[in-house]
């Protein structure tokens, strides 16, 4: 890999910023998924179902 030269700090900071923002986005989506699954599970445990999910 080539040397990053005299402006290495800016290059590393740019890639670092992209990694942090994308990691935060991925973490938020994963945590949101778990939160929604947990909320759905608790509601179903309490016997709350949609009309389409009820037995005829």
């Amino acid at each position: 890999m080539a040397s990053l030269g005299p402006h290495a700090t800016f290059i590393v900071a740019a890639y670092g910023a992209a990694v942090v923002i994308l990691a935060a986005l991925i973490a938020w989506i994963v945590l949101d998924h778990r939160a929604q699954q947990r909320a759905l599970g608790e509601l179903e445990k309490r016997g709350v179902t949609r009309r389409s999910g009820r037995p005829a």
Binding site: G5, A8, A18, L40
Partner: protein, 245 residues
């Protein structure tokens, strides 16, 4: 399976659940190849190694605009066809678009300091992209401020379509006004003005960013469908509570 069948959220959840691991794998491989090619790309004769910032800056900029374009199509789906997944798609794309626009602004700023001597200048290209970022935040705020998803969806759709006016302004700002930002060097009528040793890594990184977006978007759409199910079940539970007739 006919495309219209995807309008069914349950079917969408099932199909997207099957696709997601493959998309995530493809995005990871494309990103690894892209980063390898970017790391081994030659320095630019004028900009030196800072050209490596381009490999993340330009794909983010393309996605920032493309995601708003996609949201505008979804807005039409909401307002004209009332497609059940249109506002789900638009809402799920908004924070992802904001994130890519932020990456574009930050990496551009970090590229500008060594090349232009300044982190920021209020020229047409930079300012119009900053406006795009603020519009993403505005649509996110609108979604959060209205409880009813269908009402919020219609309001956000109108705001999104109005904001689409900014897309050609961003694209052609470097041609219409004197800007510090360089003119287009890849997407132009005369063809790319970049040497293939730099163009190929850029296009692979762009493919990786697109795959990352598609993966995250599908995952965020699934979350939004689940959130609406939770909301519906909570309303059913509240209506069935004692003392509610």
């Amino acid at each position: 399976m006919p495309l219209i069948d995807l309008a069914n959220p349950t079917r969408f959840l099932k199909l997207s659940g099957l696709l997601l691991p493959w998309l995530a794998g493809a995005a990871t491989i494309a990103l690894a190849v892209g980063l390898y090619l970017a790391g081994n790309a030659p320095d630019d004769y004028q900009q030196g190694a800072t050209v490596k910032i381009m490999f993340i800056h330009v794909p983010s900029a393309w996605l920032a605009m493309a995601i708003w374009g996609m949201m505008s199509l979804a807005a039409l789906g909401t307002l004209v066809w009332r497609h059940p997944l249109a506002d789900v798609a638009a809402k799920a794309a908004t924070p992802i678009g904001a994130a890519f626009t932020l990456i574009c602004l930050l990496t551009g700023s970090l590229w500008g300091r060594p090349m232009w001597g300044t982190y920021w200048v209020w020229d047409a290209r930079l300012t119009s992209v900053l406006i795009l970022f603020l519009m993403y935040l505005g649509v996110m705020a609108l979604w959060r401020s209205v409880d009813d998803p269908s009402r919020a969806g219609r309001a956000a759709a109108i705001l999104t379509l109005v904001g689409a006016i900014n897309l050609p302004i961003i694209k052609f700002s470097v041609d219409w006004w004197n800007t510090l930002h360089q003119p287009a060097s890849v997407v132009r009528i005369a063809g790319p003005a970049i040497h293939p040793t730099i163009l190929v890594p850029l296009l692979v990184m762009a493919l990786a960013f697109v795959l990352i977006f598609v993966t995250l978007h599908l995952a965020a759409m699934r979350n939004e469908i689940l959130r609406r199910r939770v909301r519906t079940l909570m309303m059913i539970e509240a209506q069935a509570a004692p003392g509610r007739g």
